[in-house]
């Protein structure tokens, strides 16, 4: 099972410069995959989720084409060979 996590540009510095991280381990949910990502690159975790474990307000996480907000959050089940995207939200214009 190969899960690929896509890292946004500003956070590549916290993933050894990588824009994508391949997880070749068996996982069943988005949450399990992200926990492995956080273990490997701790600097990513605090920048993507809050200390209460919620996805930051202006970040979206997609499993394939689906925003996990609408598919069960961290419990979203994963199929094999899928990409998990961490993407800054479209949220500008006020400052």
């Amino acid at each position: 099972m190969s899960i690929v996590c896509i890292i946004p540009g500003p956070l590549k510095a916290f993933a050894d410069g990588k824009s994508d991280v391949v997880l070749n381990v068996p996982v069943h949910t988005v949450g399990e995959a992200l926990n492995i990502l956080w273990e490997r690159y701790p600097g990513l975790k605090d920048r993507v989720i809050t200390e209460q474990g919620k996805v930051r307000e202006h970040i979206n996480i997609f499993a394939g084409d689906e925003n996990i907000k609408y598919t069960g959050g961290f419990n979203t089940p994963l199929k094999s060979e899928i990409e998990i995207y961490i993407i800054p939200a479209v949220s500008g214009g006020i400052n």
């Binding site: 946004p8 500003p10 956070l11 510095a13 916290f14 701790p42 600097g43 975790k45 605090d46 920048r47 993507v48 809050t50 200390e51 209460q52 919620k54 930051r56 202006h58 970040i59 800054p88 939200a89 949220s91 500008g92 400052n95």
Partner: protein, 403 residues
């Protein structure tokens, strides 16, 4: 916007640190304060509400609180005036899980007393106080304040529910004050274990009870370290002073065009001298579009406008709570920044002003420090120690800690 320039202030030079909605700018000048070198922006595109200079125990460290719109906020520091920044791998200021809270913004960074050089405090949103006892490596929530029974009834002001003022009694380690918008002023007499509201006489015009125990929208509080039981407060409507360590307050809005405003700043050497910038209550700009700093030299009995060098027409300027500061020289340098991106400075106690820098992003914070060494004051032959000699170690640092 590209990063440009570096500054290398020498001992006795003035360091001016400017936080904006889009990053940090660092300026330095010699003691004449007539020409400034500029570097920045640092933390491009990030909001910085809090900056501090820590010159204790041989350090020459700048602290900053860059906040990414997307990725949260951390406390970063530089030991070489911004050439390199040490950004923590993982967030260094976090709420414990049991609080159910998440950090939104760091509003204030306050180095501890001179004789406790590893102690720092920071005030955050949602309103809480954090303390470090290892020079900023790790931070802990001050539970005594967090667990205060008033906390669930504090309400956010327009800027958010923030703890924006931290005042340390200079000699009594047990005593300190914080101010919260909106919550009011809180005081501890036991080093932070317990806190009590000290707002008697401070108004809250937006509540049915105009003088409640707490809930005031205090914008900023200032203290002169030589008279630490005297506090001076710019309220959301009202100017107040206390001569008994906050136990009671009285109005000092004598002769100002508006009692609304954000900053209040102490003169570094004159304990009766303070500076404010009144704002029109409705428009939140300087009244009559005249940019006037008001100064009292008699502890609030009278206030007089300072206008020389400041625009007196069509100046629709707003100055936020941490956007005004003073350096430690004599005569004192007074500085402020505007929401329209201008930095004004005075090298003569506010008697006259010059535009130092223009066209910055909206200014959120202005802090000043004199770098290292000893400073000869004009009025005294005594020398004032302000911090440190320049470091002799190699300045090169990793830009990111933990790797």
């Amino acid at each position: 916007m590209q990063t440009s320039g570096q500054i290398s202030p020498r001992t006795g030079n003035v360091l001016l640190m400017i936080g904006t909605m889009k990053g940090v700018f660092l300026l330095s000048s010699n003691s004449t304060r007539s020409r400034w070198k500029v570097s920045g922006p640092h933390f491009t595109g990030q909001v910085v509400y809090a900056l501090a200079y820590d010159g204790r125990a041989g350090k020459q460290r700048i602290w900053a609180s860059p906040q990414s719109w997307f990725y949260g906020t951390v406390l970063a520091h530089s030991d070489d005036f911004g050439s390199n920044w040490s950004v923590p791998e993982t967030a260094n200021v976090k709420f414990p899980e049991d609080t159910g809270l998440s950090l939104k913004q760091i509003w204030q960074i306050e180095p501890g007393r001179d004789d406790e050089p590893d102690v720092l405090y920071c005030g955050v949103e949602p309103a809480s106080l954090f303390k470090s006892t290892d020079a900023g490596e790790t931070w802990s929530l001050v539970r005594g304040l967090h667990d205060h029974p008033h906390r669930p009834r504090w309400e956010p002001g327009g800027g958010g529910l923030c703890l924006h003022t931290i005042l340390l009694h200079p000699t009594d380690r047990n005593k300190m004050y914080v101010a919260i918008s909106t919550g009011g002023v809180y005081k501890t007499d036991d080093g932070g274990s317990t806190w009590r509201a000290v707002n008697k006489g401070v108004s809250a015009e937006f509540l049915p009870d105009k003088y409640p125990e707490f809930g005031q929208c205090v914008h900023k509080v200032a203290m002169h370290t030589s008279q630490p039981d005297r506090l001076f407060l710019q309220n959301h409507g009202g100017l107040f002073r206390s001569f008994n360590g906050g136990e009671s307050w009285e109005s000092m809005a004598n002769g100002v065009p508006s009692d609304f405003g954000f900053p209040i700043v102490s003169h570094p050497h004159e304990p009766d001298t303070f500076y404010i910038v009144p704002l029109d209550y409705e428009m939140r700009c300087v009244p009559e579009a005249k940019l006037r700093v008001y100064r009292t030299q008699d502890a609030g009995k009278t206030w007089k406008p300072l206008t020389r060098g400041l625009p007196q027409k069509r100046a629709y300027e707003t100055i936020l709570r941490d956007s005004m500061t003073a350096d430690q020289l004599d005569p004192a340098g007074i500085y402020f920044g505007t929401r329209s991106g201008k930095i004004y400075g005075s090298a003569n106690n506010g008697n006259s002003w010059k535009l130092i820098l223009d066209d910055l992003p909206p200014v959120t914070c202005v802090k000043a420090a004199v770098v290292g060494g000893e400073i000869q004051t004009k009025k005294s032959t005594s020398k004032k120690k302000t911090g440190t000699k320049r470091a002799t170690k190699k300045p090169a640092r990793a830009t990111r800690k933990g790797k």
